[in-house]
């Protein structure tokens, strides 16, 4: 039959094009075949596949009246079409059936792709043999939060998704499944516990109450929904007209502990979504409104930014007996218990606010080796945990080299280079090549150079050959090319004030290059001021960031041109790396 369609298609194409562009090898129809086509002499049916056996050439399906039908087919002659989930085309194959060679059709497939649960439309000939199958799945979209995600042995991973109603859905997914975030393809490893995702599912109903779901595609929220802050204070009032929580004596949880006080912070809430706990027990928002306003203890508030505004999503009421532990490493994890390198044993319950990578996660996602900043109650119960990533520079590397040659808009080579490791430059007397492209950013002491790649040439009046640049590279690619002084002095300390133009640092140590050790800058802890210049590079969590993103509590290491002691505590910082 397929051959038949093919032949008709070729004939029609040849006629319509009026040219003999193809070497046509016509296969003629016998009288019966011709008559069948002429009179639409075929049967048709619809149903759901119960079983398909291509080896033995039969298919079993259930019709809309609930009757089970078994039909045979010739594997080599059956035409099969199945709509891939990503195809938006509404063409269902009629034209394509008449003109099989018409053009590329993403629906064309083989009988092996017809699986139990598929909805099918079939045609069969007068011998009751199936000649054509058009199949499709019912797709549903599910939206929710990743409760846990783990890679299994082999090529599969396990995803546990919590939907909006709190129901859990478990999926085993192949590593090859398409994953996107912000329209860009990612691998499965981009999924983190606490992420909001939407998934496309092919739902197959195999019988009464028997549903099989096959995950087809995953879209990860493009960081539009994340934990933006954790606060503490007391509930002054809840305005249910505006759905606002007024938090008095508010302090923000920052790296160095708790921020300065704010009298009242109004923050949105959704009464249908917010979780509230009092000393470990869940309580309703009405209970909070009536009984926990102006309570003597603290309420810890997890605030999530969603649709461009901050909402309180979890309230944890505790007594004022609390300790903020310094960042330390998790050494042991078992259900409900976490042990820290500092020797503390911390008890974890459902009320704890645990944040990792700006996502609210469950206790079971805490892992040995995590760096955790915790707030614990008097009984060593975990109230808040911020699990910080020890990424620092991540895949970013800092080099300094003299330009040897440039291949326009492609790559450049340095004669030799130094690589920054910690606060020391290590010289390598070998050439090294870096790729450049339209995304490479060029900076000078004046700041960003628009269209810098067009002036980065090894010829002409402005030839860059022999010039020395600092190169911020990711792998072999130059992410930034910066004209800056050779910054060999260094300091380290903790940021206590940052305004985008300069940063004030306390607990400052400077590196004594001849003694080869870190020395305390001031016994009185006078601190130091690091000036941000237009060509300063700041690296945090494996990314280059603007100065405005530096926070109080950031522990930094800054590369300076001048020794801090000689510069009386104020120096220009050229490379600043946030280390904790």
């Amino acid at each position: 039959m397929k051959r038949l369609f093919k032949t008709v298609g070729i004939i029609c194409l040849s006629l319509s094009m009026s040219i003999s562009a193809f070497a046509v090898t016509s296969s003629y129809l016998d009288e019966e075949e011709y008559s069948d086509i002429l009179r639409d002499n075929y049967g048709e049916d619809q149903g759901i596949v119960i079983e398909n056996n291509p080896s033995l050439g039969y298919i079993v399906y259930k019709t809309s009246s609930g009757r089970e039908e078994t039909k045979n087919y010739y594997r080599e002659e059956i035409t099969v079409e199945k709509q891939p989930y990503y195809e938006g085309d509404d063409r269902l194959g009629y034209l394509d059936e008449l003109f099989p060679n018409f053009n590329f059709d993403p629906r064309d497939t083989t009988i092996d792709s017809i699986k139990a649960g598929d909805s099918i439309y079939i045609k069969f000939d007068k011998d009751d043999r199936v000649t054509y199958i058009s199949a499709y799945n019912d797709y549903i979209m599910r939206y929710g939060k990743v409760n846990s995600f783990t890679f299994n042995s082999g090529d599969m991973a396990s995803l546990l998704l919590e939907d909006e109603t709190g129901r859990m859905h478990a999926y085993t997914i192949p590593l090859s499944i398409p994953v996107t975030k912000g329209g860009v393809s990612y691998t499965l490893s981009a999924i983190k516990p606490g992420d909001y995702i939407k998934i496309l599912i092919a739902q197959k109903i195999l019988g009464e109450g028997i549903v099989e779901e096959e995950l087809q595609e995953i879209v990860i929220d493009h960081d539009t929904r994340y934990i933006s802050n954790v606060y503490r204070g007391q509930v002054a009032a809840i305005n249910l007209y505006k759905n606002m929580l007024n938090l008095k004596n508010m302090q923000k949880f920052i790296k160095s502990g708790w921020s300065t006080y704010t009298n009242i912070l109004p923050i949105s809430l959704n009464p249908k979504k917010i979780e509230s706990y009092l000393a470990g027990n869940p309580v309703s928002l009405d209970y909070v409104t009536r009984n926990l306003r102006n309570a003597s203890g603290y309420v810890y508030v997890a605030a999530e930014t969603n649709m461009g505004k901050e909402n309180a999503i979890k309230l944890n009421f505790q007594s004022k007996m609390q300790r903020t532990l310094p960042i330390t490493t998790v050494t042991y994890v078992s259900p409900g218990v976490v042990k820290l390198l500092s020797g503390e044993t911390v008890y974890v319950a459902k009320d704890a606010i645990i944040v990792r990578d700006k996502r609210l996660i469950e206790a079971h996602s805490i892992m040995v080796g995590d760096a955790m900043q915790a707030v614990v109650t008097g009984e060593n119960k975990l109230a808040i945990a911020n699990i910080t990533s020890d990424i620092t520079t991540g895949s970013i590397e800092v080099f300094r080299g003299r330009i040897k040659k440039i291949s326009d808009r492609e790559e450049f080579e340095v004669e030799s280079f130094s690589r920054l490791d910690g606060n020391a430059w290590y010289f390598h007397p070998t050439p090294r090549t870096f790729a450049i492209d339209y995304q490479t950013k060029f900076y000078t002491s004046e700041g960003f150079v628009a269209g810098g790649i067009e002036d980065f040439l090894d010829h002409g009046e402005n030839s860059q050959v022999g010039e020395v640049y600092t190169i911020i590279a990711i792998g072999e690619k130059a992410y930034m090319i910066v004209d800056m002084p050779y910054a060999r002095e260094s300091l380290k300390g903790e940021v206590y004030q940052a305004d985008g133009e300069s940063i004030k640092v306390k607990d400052v140590y400077y590196y004594h290059t001849s003694q080869k050790k870190w020395l305390e800058y001031s016994r009185k802890n006078l601190g130091a001021s690091v000036t941000i210049t237009p060509n300063t590079v700041i690296i945090k969590n494996g990314k280059v960031i603007p100065a405005s993103k530096l926070e109080k509590g950031d522990k930094i290491k800054a590369m300076l041109e001048n020794n801090l002691k000689d510069a009386n505590g104020t120096a220009e910082g050229y490379i600043i790396v946030v280390e904790g």
Binding site: G66, D138, I140, G308, K441, A450
Partner: protein, 510 residues
């Protein structure tokens, strides 16, 4: 009983059909809060205040001429025009948008004035309207990066077309917008190279009694001559009616508490700069703006229902009375009484504010005044006469496409599967069940489901508005008043809170 029924009828009678659905954010990438839905009190006024012809809403938009997002904030003034005339079936109207916005320090500003002429065809058979708009006037001045740009309206073009589809209880729409805006720098300032911004993308939305929403997808190409930028935007707005119960504090008060509806509105704009200024850091390529305003509060009256105190469906039943969906005399109310088909249809008509047919006119005859005589009107039903109590409701349901004509069997007891079929029809989402669901549903008692109800039940299960009991749906079980209140409450909650998620939360994630 009759009195309550009349009150119910009177407020629904005055409900005007939904007309100007789309365009409450403008069509230029900004977001507003949208126009608030009318309160029940406003809908019930017999003497209408003059129709509002102008709305001014808070507004935010991003300007990308520098390759970086510059957020400007101000107002959008909308004159939506007179809308469509379904009687005539075709026509045109003019819609106007005036936007004035600037950023905090005044370095980025924008004023825009646009008028569209919108022509339409309403197809009564399909219950759909096709609208096509052309630009009548477009003036715009933008200040960005120290330069002032003026729109060259002769070089610019704009086209939009929208298809509205009227399900019995929800009006949906989808449209497409494409425009090229050409800006020239004002004389004497910088380069005279014109800038072209090309925008295309679909627009989706719906409007119903409890919520409305609109979401646009916008692909923006900015051509500065020697530099190009590309940005994707998703502006969305949602207006919905929230319901809250307020218990009274004093004891010495004649009622213990009551429900109130709060009409909330919010807009959000998600942007993703695919190609922007190279100066932007990775974290600055994406972002979201939000715009919101204060809610409108409306108290709902509540009857005394001492007989259902402590009943599991007490709050659902009270809600139905407060929303004037249940109109039985409270003293005679029995939660175990089975709902009749015609009763449930009337409940849906009242819940979804489906417009009732014009009230029957009284005519003077030789024998006095003949009340309830529907002049020239023939009932589409064999078993419901024009003067019957439920006639206005079943006729309204018939006109809206919720039920067909012929034999209604209105006094027959309602089964759960019949209820689900009506619920899905009122939402206009039966299509979601066509396919697998025609054959078999995921429920254990699938064999008990009538063939004609399978698709609706499957669609309802996909939407999550069926809560199976241990995997069973009991399709042939009669629906009692108490169950009816709970099921209707679930349907209304879906309309208030959940339907919108497909258009905002889920579409913002991309």
């Amino acid at each position: 009983m009759k009195k309550i029924l009349l009150i119910g009828i009177s407020f629904i009678l005055s409900v005007s059909s939904l007309s100007a659905l789309e365009g409450e954010m403008g069509y230029f990438g900004g977001v507003s809060t949208g126009i608030k839905l009318p309160t029940i009190t406003a809908l019930s006024q017999t003497k209408k205040s003059s129709t509002t012809s102008k709305y001014t809403l808070p507004y935010k938009e991003n300007i990308y001429l520098s390759g970086k997002p510059e957020t400007v904030e101000g107002t959008i003034e909308i004159r939506p025009g007179k809308g469509i005339d379904k009687e005539k079936g075709q026509g045109k109207y003019t819609e106007n948008y005036i936007i004035k916005a600037q950023n905090a320090d005044g370095t980025a500003k924008m004023t825009r004035n646009m008028s569209f002429e919108t022509q339409y065809i309403y197809e009564a058979e399909r219950k759909q309207t096709t609208k096509t708009s052309k630009m009548l006037k477009w003036t715009e001045v933008v200040v960005s990066g120290g330069e002032t740009y003026q729109l060259d309206s002769k070089q610019s073009s704009y086209t939009k077309s929208i298809l509205e589809d009227y399900a019995p209880g929800v009006s949906y729409y989808r449209g497409d917008i494409q425009y090229d805006a050409v800006y020239t720098p004002l004389a004497g300032e910088g380069t005279n190279e014109p800038i072209t911004i090309s925008v295309d993308g679909p627009i989706y939305g719906y409007e119903q009694a409890f919520a409305k929403t609109e979401t646009q997808r916008r692909n923006i190409m900015i051509d500065l001559g020697d530099t190009q930028y590309y940005v994707e935007e998703t502006p969305t707005l949602t207006v919905h009616k929230d319901i809250q119960y307020g218990a009274n504090e004093p004891d010495a008060i004649s009622f213990a508490g009551n429900y109130k509806e709060l009409i909330r509105s919010e807009g959000a704009l998600n942007y993703n700069i695919i190609v922007g200024s190279p100066e932007l850091y990775d974290d600055e390529l994406i972002g979201t703006l939000n715009v919101t305003n204060a809610p409108v509060i409306e108290q709902l009256s509540i009857p005394s229902l001492p007989r259902i105190k402590g009943h599991p469906a007490e709050s659902d039943i009270k809600k139905m009375y407060s929303l004037k969906i249940y109109t039985d005399t409270p003293a005679a109310f029995s939660p175990n009484q089975v709902v009749r088909r015609q009763e449930y249809i009337a409940m849906l008509v009242r819940a979804l504010r489906i417009p009732l047919p014009p009230a029957p006119k009284k005519t003077n005859t030789a024998f006095g005044t003949a009340a309830n005589a529907n002049i020239g009107e023939t009932s589409p039903f064999n078993d419901v006469k024009e003067g019957d109590t439920y006639y206005p409701y079943v006729k309204a349901a018939y006109d809206a496409g919720l039920i067909g004509g012929g034999t209604l069997n209105g006094s027959r007891q309602l089964t759960r599967e019949e209820m689900y079929v009506l619920n899905m029809r009122v939402l206009g989402l039966e299509r979601l069940g066509i396919g697998t669901g025609n054959v078999v549903t995921p429920f254990v008692d699938d064999k008990q489901i009538s063939q004609s109800a399978k698709a609706a039940i499957y669609a309802a299960s996909k939407l999550g508005i069926i809560t199976p009991s241990n995997g069973y749906v009991f399709p042939k079980k009669y629906v009692t008043k108490a169950e009816g209140a709970a099921f209707l409450g679930q349907l209304i909650d879906y309309l208030r809170y959940d339907l919108q998620k497909d258009y905002n939360e889920k579409m913002l994630m991309n």
